[in-house]
Subunit: 316 residues, 2 copies
Amino acid sequence: MATIKVPEHVPSPAEDCEQLRKAFQGWGTNEDLIISILAHRNAAQRCLIRKTYAEIYGEDLLKELDKELSSDFERIVLLWTLQPAERDAFMANEATKRSTSNNLVIVEIACTRPLLELFKVRQAYHARFKKSLEEDVAYHTSGDIRKLLVPLVSSLRYEGDEVNKTLAKSEAKVLHEKIAGKEYNHEELIRILTTRSKAQLLATVNLYNNEYGNPINKDLKADPNDEYLKLLRTTIKCLTFPERHFAKVLRLAIDKMGTDEWALARVISSRAETDLERIKEEYYRRNSIPLDRAIAKDTSGDFEKMALELIGHGDA
Amino acid sequence: MATIKVPEHVPSPAEDCEQLRKAFQGWGTNEDLIISILAHRNAAQRCLIRKTYAEIYGEDLLKELDKELSSDFERIVLLWTLQPAERDAFMANEATKRSTSNNLVIVEIACTRPLLELFKVRQAYHARFKKSLEEDVAYHTSGDIRKLLVPLVSSLRYEGDEVNKTLAKSEAKVLHEKIAGKEYNHEELIRILTTRSKAQLLATVNLYNNEYGNPINKDLKADPNDEYLKLLRTTIKCLTFPERHFAKVLRLAIDKMGTDEWALARVISSRAETDLERIKEEYYRRNSIPLDRAIAKDTSGDFEKMALELIGHGDA
């Protein structure tokens, strides 16, 4: 469930643009006005606003925001204003670059977006970067991480809920054999995790738990700091229980010495229109404090205001 | 350029269905009537006919054709009647099965269809087989062939014509090093062939030819009967010069002891609405006999009639 609140009577895109233009003009920028508009428009509405802004003022709204805003507040507003597929393409591209490398973001996008959305992300990547996502991921990674990430970002999993129980059993056995033998990079293990449907994989990891006594992610924790193992665990978590994955990302971002606003901006902007309500529940279940209160305690200023509007502050 | 001829005044789908129904009824089947209708309707029209047939007679046209026709003629009519994405999904699925395994078909589909079409093929595969194409390919292959085929069917290459010459040069060098060292299954070689755009790859193999004195496919012929090497050559040919690949498939199908009607049916049905005109040129250039004459000499009966109608017999 989404968390953003769109007013019953939304001003026309032209009116919104006029207000935004006002917010940019004169001495200083009116951040509150920007938040009051953009945080309360859905993706289709924001898309129209951007189009209308370009028509009326001949400028790209994103460039204006970039000019007027700064630091973490700029980041969350820009990410939010982008269309979902554009946003994912942008974040994935950033994640493949050396200076902003972040393989977890790649796994997260590849494993939590629905099929049609993934296709749009790959199209948006082509349009913006004149290359394909898998091309950049393959080029910028190597070894085991490449072996895992390239098929992860390339595959378009079947989305039906049919489960083949015999297959689940035999593949749970394969996973257990490879993990027990510490062959974490075995091609069969990678094949299963990167190609099976979410429903099938859920059945497989449940059988794994039943048959071999441990949740699979516990068995994949041999070396908690090994990046490849961490990505394997993230893959499984994102495919089988995405809300818990996101709740954990939020927890780590907030608990960190010096809050990780980038992680907050990523999760909030990409989930506020889909399942952030469920993520908030998971967050509360694990941390005994509502997400909005945790964020209010840990962040400040315009970033805090924007984040709270997007997570539907006031419900909590 | 397409080769099929659609009449200027096409009967309504209901009229076509009525004629088809007549062709199925009574003693024997009127194959000529079936050919005269289906071979002269484009994909959108055939789709409408199928829909209309189900509405009027409550039967699936494909099942009727399956019941009424037989052997190679049935094969080419059924393949032709399917929508392009359905046809590719069907052929790719067949190609992953042990009894009808054909890795060349998988390479051909993955490397010659445009981006949007490939996405539709993968959707059609989901819809029909309740699994993903990459899932089946990964499950049914192993070793080097899996290492090549899974990324081939999974990637959605960038389709722009931008070329990075520096990159082409460095990757031509990588390809040459790996091939010279007989490391044909090296992950860098596979990465380049499976992720780069067609324009970029064309520049790379041209540079390879200029710098190292041989066309890359010649250097990949160390063991002409090795299946993996054959698939590598097919990959490169399909990506850089698809018409020549198809012309060769046709030549081998015709020259074979006992014509390979399945290969003919595959190429003709899948190219008649796209580039079969160009393929015919390539065929003539290499064999000094027009494709229609070669097919007329080598096949017979209803299969011959259908094939000739689809390749635009009478132009030659």
